[in-house]
Amino acid sequence: MTEAEAGPTTPPDPTEAFRELRDGYLEIWSKNLIETVNSEDYAKASGAALDGFLAVAAPFKEPTEKAMLKMLQQLNMPTSADFMGLAGRFTNVELLLDNLDAKLDRIEALLKVETSAHASAPKAATKTKQKKQTTLRADGTSKRTTAAKPVRRNARKVTR
């Protein structure tokens, strides 16, 4: 490459050689460490380290928890178990609300289908049906389905 092709504004970077050397060294190091991590010996060593940590941590866990529980009970304050129980109950309430939401969605969909079917029916047929329904209503045995209002879903939208 000629000087003109290389461009006069690109000065040589003195750190480039160092970077290349560094990257080459890291690549070799990386390959070796990946092989090490991928070996049975490493798995065995990391397992032993974890066991050692758990052996130290576990004996303190139960007494600490018991002492904390006793202290909170004496202070008449809720414990973590109380909060966990409460969280479970909240989730159950949410599940029930979601079930209700699903039912309302189904009702809403059915109402839409019924309303659209009713709207697309011939006018004459609608008139006859309405007359019939009105008669039935007068007898107190039936209600006009067309009078049903869509279920309000959002409490904030309800007019007071």
Binding site: R19, R22, L26, W29, S30, L33, I34, V37, N38, S39, E40, Y42, A43, K44, S46, G47, A48, L50, D51, L54, A57, A58, K61, S80, F83, M84, A87, G88, F90, T91, E94, L95, D98, D101, A102, D105
Partner: protein
Amino acid sequence: MVQAPAAMDPLAVLDERLKTVTRVMTSKAPIAQTPKELVWTLNKAKLYRYVPAVPEKDRHRIPLLLIFALMNRPYILDLRPGHSFVEYLVGQGFDVYLLDWGVPGPEDKHLKLDDYSLEYMPRAIRKIKALSGVEEVSVLGWCIGAILTTIYAALRPDDGLRNLILLTAPLDFSQKAKLTFGRMTDEKYFDVDKVLATFGNMPPEMIDYGAKALKPVENYIGNYLKLWDNLDNAQIVENWHAMNTWVSDNIPMAGAAFRQLIVDLYRNNRLMTGELVIRGERVDLSQLQANLLTVIAEGDHITPPCQSETLLAKVGSRDKEVYRVHGGHIGIMAGNSAHKRTWPHIERWLAPRSN
């Protein structure tokens, strides 16, 4: 790269570089910026719907649900403006939803894969159908999210799931020699019950260590050298900042689900052998009928390609495809070339199947 002016004091340049390093390593980048609304919640899980950017007549009819792993935040899918998979999909006319599993607390240690795939997912999908007014849905699952979606798709084939996209899906655990995680969590060396008895949930620090240890030099040294070498390039610095924010924001994994992952999948490969039982139902992969796209990252060290390749032979889908892309576990979706390769391929596959 921007050259520093020749007359600039070297100490001032160094000071500026150190200030930038301190800023990106100690602060959180503004992430997950695509406008969205919360449409459903259950326990810690939240379902978001992204605000459409395309007029309704130009949008695809079938909504798309994104499901990420259990031990990381899902905003990797919406990293930052101009570099967000979600933003890309919304711009392409998809009605996009994201199911964020949230952060499990001690009270959630009993949550299993059963709960995620047969309680949370069906309910979220029902809500999506109600909101969109469409009886079909597409689902994209990534990493452990792909395990959950596969289980759901196989157990609920009549639930309206039309398209299934699996990204770097760890489903086949038969080739133990290629699975570093498998070796680390072998029952000879790793007592999962003892760990969970101590911690309840799987601590995020342990998960993070396990993932980073697979490529220690890249994760603990190379990553920071990359930042130092590119401090003059504002775009690389901001990308690094966003990615570092995500990488260092780990969450615990529910204890019972982690136990299933290790015992049922890593150790016994029960999903592929047809022995996995979820809420009393055996997961039969031949029941999976949805159109299927599996994206495999050829350089994936967390989920090697051998874990995703064998699925296609097991499923009952007639329309199925494998897409191999050069890159790593996260890089294929959040790397610099994701918007040129992976995203457009997913869009081209999904668009004709979403109308």
